[in-house]
Every structure is written in C-alpha cells, then in structure tokens.
C-alpha cells in the first residue's frame, strides 16, 4: 500500500502543480482584467453586450457554431488573419472579459467570426445565409439553419425581416421570417466587433520605435482616431 500511496501523492501533487501553475496563476494575473475607460469617447471598452446579442450568444453555443468558426485573430508576422481582413488587429485577452462563455474555437472549417460585425454585412444578408448558405456561396459546407425560420401567411403588411422572395422559394401569399432565436443570433453576430485599440495592449505589441515620443502622448494618441 505504501507504493500506492506514493503514486497517489505524486499524481496529486503533479496535477495540483499544473493547476496552480496554469490556472490559478492566470486567474490571479488577468482573471480580474477590467474594461478600459476611454476618456475621449467617454465609453468603456469592450462595451457591454446588449441584451439581444447576449441571448444570441446562447443560440451560438447551443447550435455549436464554434465547432467550425473560431473567434480569435492571430497577430504575429505575417498574420494571414489580418491580410484576410478577418480582423483589424490581433485579439487581446481584454476583448473577451464581458463574455459569459468564451468560445475561442479550435478549428476553422469556416472563417473566423471575431470581427464579423465590422465586415459590412446586413441583417438581411445574414438571414439569407443562415437559411441556406448555398444561395450566395455555392459549395459552402456550412449547414443550412432553415429551422431557425418559419413560414407564415402574410396578413396585412409583409414583415420587413422576411427573406427575399427572389432568392428563396416561398409559396404565394406566404413569407419566411426568422424566429426570435434567429433574430438574437444575428444581433450577436453583428455585435462581434473588436476594433478598439487598447493603449496598454497596443504598446506591448508595437515594437518600440527608436526615438520614442513622450510617454503620456504615445499612450493616448493611437486610439483617438479609431
């Protein structure tokens, strides 16, 4: 039994060590990272996630979009993510602090969505894409989410959210409209936008230029025109 106790103790210590080293230390070092308050904009970044978008985040999780889409823009030299215009800058840890559940994703079957809201896509286009990705992107392997839509008879005014009749087959007198979940999901997608340059991260990531400007000025200028 003595050898067994030794093994238990060893395994316990080894695992505890990795737990303390990787998790506890990270919780301590940046688990309490705060939003950055920008005095010029009089706003905190990252911004609070609006209610509908927060609901959409849950739809994103329950439908498992994250198995095909990452939400992390890689920086570095050269960054293919930036040349693809998936993001305007690399992702920082601070970008995620408002999220209830952080889904970075592990595999890119589809494009990264971290900055999707900044690619000028309209809600109508996203609905159409979700309804059937093949309509606009032939050969897309993204699954159709037609079950996020309902077909109903038009009574009075047609819904402004209804799918474009030219693009999809709709029985006469009916329209296909997104369900509440689809609306929340689209609100979430449009809200995905990381373009703000935090002074601290910006400074860490730009290699120091030889003749540095006075400290305070360098810290506040970059984001002024973002």
């Amino acid at each position: 039994m003595n050898r067994a106790t030794l093994i238990f103790l060893g395994a316990f210590l080894a695992l505890s060590f990795s737990w303390a080293g990787l998790l506890l230390s990270n919780v301590n070092s940046y688990g309490g990272l705060a939003p950055h308050f920008d005095e010029t904009d009089n706003k905190a970044y990252p911004a609070q996630v609006p209610g509908l978008a927060a609901q959409g985040a849950q739809v994103y999780a329950d439908l498992g979009c994250a198995y095909c889409h990452t939400q992390q823009i890689s920086g570095g030299e050269p960054s293919a993510d930036l040349t693809r215009k998936w993001g305007e800058r690399e992702s920082y840890a601070r970008d995620y602090i408002r999220e209830e559940s952080v889904l970075l994703g592990e595999l890119r079957v589809g494009p990264d969505l971290r900055n999707f809201g900044a690619r000028d896509s309209t809600a109508a286009a996203i609905y159409l894409h979700l309804y059937n990705p093949q309509i606009e992107t032939k050969g897309s392997t993204m699954p159709p989410y037609a079950f996020l839509f309902t077909t109903r008879k038009i009574v009075g005014q047609p819904s402004p959210l209804a799918l474009d009749r030219v693009k999809v087959n709709v029985p006469a007198g009916s329209e296909i409209i997104p369900t509440d979940r689809a609306e929340a999901l689209v609100a979430y997608l449009l809200n995905l936008r990381d373009s703000y340059e935090y002074p601290v991260e910006k400074q860490k990531n730009t290699p120091p230029k030889p003749p540095a400007a006075p400290h305070g000025a360098a810290e506040h200028k970059p984001e002024a025109h973002k």
């Binding site: 039994m1 050898r3 067994a4 093994i7 238990f8 060893g10 395994a11 316990f12 080894a14 695992l15 060590f17 990795s18 080293g21 990787l22 998790l23 990270n26 919780v27 940046y30 688990g31 990272l33 994103y60 999780a61 329950d62 439908l63 498992g64 994250a66 198995y67 095909c68 992390q72 890689s74 570095g76 293919a80 693809r84 992702s91 920082y92 840890a93 601070r94 970008d95 995620y96 602090i97 209830e100 559940s101 952080v102 970075l104 994703g105 592990e106 595999l107 890119r108 079957v109 589809g110 990705p133 992107t137 050969g139 897309s140 392997t141 699954p143 159709p144 989410y145 037609a146 079950f147």
Partner: protein, 486 residues
Amino acid sequence: MSAHPHQSSAATPAAESGPADASVRVPVLFLLTSGILWLLAGSALAFIAAIKLHTPGFLADCEFLTYGRVYPAALNALAYGWGVNAGLAVALWLMVRLARANLPGGSLLLVAGSFWNLGVMLGVLGILAGWSTSVPWLEMPRQVVPLLLVAYVLCAAWVIGALRHGSSPRLYASQWWLLAAVFSFPWLWAAAEAMLFFAPVRGTVQSVVGAWFTGGFLLLWFMPIGLAVIYYLLPKLIGKPIRGYYVAPFGFWSYIVCAGWVGASRLTGAPVPAWTQAAGAVASLLMLVPLAILTVNLLYSVLADGLSVLGRSVVLRFTAVAAAAFTFCLGRASLMILLGSPRLTWLAVSSDYLILYGVFSMAVFSAVYYLTPRIVRRAWPYAGLINAHFTLSFIGLLVGGVALELGGQQQGRDLANGVAFTEVTAHSLPYLQTATIAGVLLILGHLAFALNFVKIAFCPFVRARANAAPVPVELTRTAPEMEVAP
C-alpha cells in the same frame, strides 16, 4: 509457427482465470456492455457528423442533429460513454488481477455504473436538445455533472478497493498508470467544471481551463489506461518480459509531471498570456523523455525480435498498434511544436483522434479480447470477426489519420497563403470524404466487435465449442516472471 487467430484469442484459458476473475465478472461485463453500446452510438453520431462536413444538406432539417450538436454529442458519447466505461472495466479487471484480490460487493458497483450511464445519457441527450455548453469536451449540461462525478467516484472506489483487498505485495507498472488515471480524471473534471460553470472565471482564462482539462483528459485518462493495458498484455502475449523494465518508473514519473501542462499547447497563438503558451510548448517537448523510455519499454519490446511475433495473435496486433500509436502521437506532438505546424486546422483533430482511437481504443480492444474469455470461461465464438475487427479498425485508423493529417496540412497552407475561402473549402472536401470512408470501416469493425461480445457474454450455448479449440500454452500459463515485476 504462427498460430491461428482462432487458437490464440478464442482460447478458454480456464487454468488462468482464478477466483479474482470470477469476482469481477458481473461488474466488468456490465461496464463493458455499456461501453460498447456507447461506442456504437457514438460512432453512429460521429458518422453523421462526418457526412455533414462534406454534404451539409444531409439531415439538415433536424435541429437536434445539426453539426454543432451531433459532433459534440458524438464526442461525449465516445469520451464519457465508451472511454470511461471501458476504461473503468479494464482498470477494475487489471487491478483485481494484479493485486490478486477477491472483490466483494459488486452489486453496488452496478448501481454506481447505472447512474454513470444514466448521467451520460442525459448529458448526450441534453447536447442534442440544445443545452450544450459548446466548450470542447465539456459540453454536457452542468446539471448532470454532479451526478456523474458521484457515480464515477463510487465506481473508481472499487478499483482502489481492489488494491486494498489485494494480497500481492507488489505494484506493477500497469497499476501505477491505472492509479494515476483513476485518480486524475475526477480531479481534472471537478476543477474544470467548477471554474467554467459553477464559479466561472473571466475572459480567456476560461480557455486556459478548457485546454488544461482537455489535455489532462487525453493524457491522464485515455493514455494511461492504454499504457496500463500495454504494459500488462505485451509480456504475456510475446512471452518475454518488458525490455528495460527498470527504467519504467522514470518513464512514469516524468510523464505524470509534464502531462498536466501539455494542454496549454492547444492555445498556441490564442489570446492568452505568452508564457502560458510557452509552458505548454515546453511541456510537450519535455514529454520526449517519457516518450523515449516508454518506447523502449513497449514498442521496442514488440519489435526487438522482428515483426513476425505479430503473427502470433490478433490480440497482440491490437496491443502493438496501440504501442506504436503512443510513440507516434507524442513524437508527432513534439515535432509539431518544433516545426510550428499550422493551428486551428484538422491537424488538431487528428491529434486527439490518434490518442482516443489509436492508443486508447486499440489497447482496450486488445484487453477486451484477452479478458472476456477469462471471466466468462468461454471462447470467442467468431474468431474470424476478431480478425475482421482488427483489419477494419487498423485500416480505418490509418486512412482516417492520414486524411486528417494531409487535409490539415493543406488547410494550413491555404489559410496561410490567402487562398479564397471557397477554395479552402473545396480543397478540403476529398480529405473529408476519405475520413467518412474511414468512419465506415471503423463502424463495421465495431459491429464485428459488438456481435462477438454479445455472443460470448450473453449466449451460453457457445460454451460447448470452446473445449474443442486447442489452447496454445504460452497464452494460458500464468508466468509470474512475465507480470512485469519490478
């Protein structure tokens, strides 16, 4: 010289199965049966997911089978349903046997095991119904996790109990690995669940927790169970002791010390602190130490006398593939770090697949083929199906692994070179279709396995035929000096 697979694996080594085997018969059969049912369910779900990746219109109107649900449902069915049930079954049998224990109170284990399976069922159905957390490997809704943890601890208590009840003063290599696995898994899981869902940490620290758990689950549950089986079976099946057994403890300890950190390497390039990524990379490279030691112990033990030894028994072929997959997995992981392989591609999937299928499942298959005749005291009814299972799963493993590997390399190049996304998708299709074909092979193999298992475990009338088969001596004799004694 090479005996028939029929002879080697269809043997009824009554002489070798003692009271220890009889005492765990019911719990081991229960856990194995549940595990195999989960294996079938999980591979069916995985197959649906694989088809959807190249044919998105397949079953597209079923919300509960949408890719983002059916894939995690498959993963959880395979990891918690097959992986934990079969892992516990093998752990229990090995522990009882090596400790020469006579285990009382198996019926309590059945209760705990039933609750485990109930929990996994609720978890998988919960994922399909839309309560998935979407956190990789931790998708089951948090409400079922406390039930699962309690059930697991009660099952694992039997494995530990076997050690305490045992009369053997020795502790063999297999037992070190089993103890580490049985103990690490609940620790990892409880900590990760607590930090992600019960008292969630903030921001990308969540991703660090997730990566730590996933790495730990793979390297401190699946791998060790596989290694325990290989350490036990190889010397018996080859008829020679493990080579360089005296260094095995160094292999064990260096592995255990590094393994918990390796998960962080899944976050290379992610928005988490650079030192965390570096720690993961360093740990992956340090794994070269246990890799070298274990390769000498295991793979070299197989290969030292030439490949012809593999002709001896199909059970040995399963074990040998697991040993080779172990060396390949860890070697590949280090190489990927050194070469800076593309991230967020199919390469990551193929790493996990190699551990789950190549090491763990292949080792467990060999254990099941070895142990079942000994606990039910009957021969395998269809020796041909065992061969078929080996051929199908080996080819399936290779084809699937190569497809993901090449597909991942291609995807990495395309993504780095700014190839238009529709092209990236188009280039990946042939690889994904090949992976689906591999899935067909694996599923056929599982069916052969399940059929044989149901027959041997639940159809007593095959007993008669068993006595007819001649039993090769080296498989039935318990040679204590071969039990990898330190």
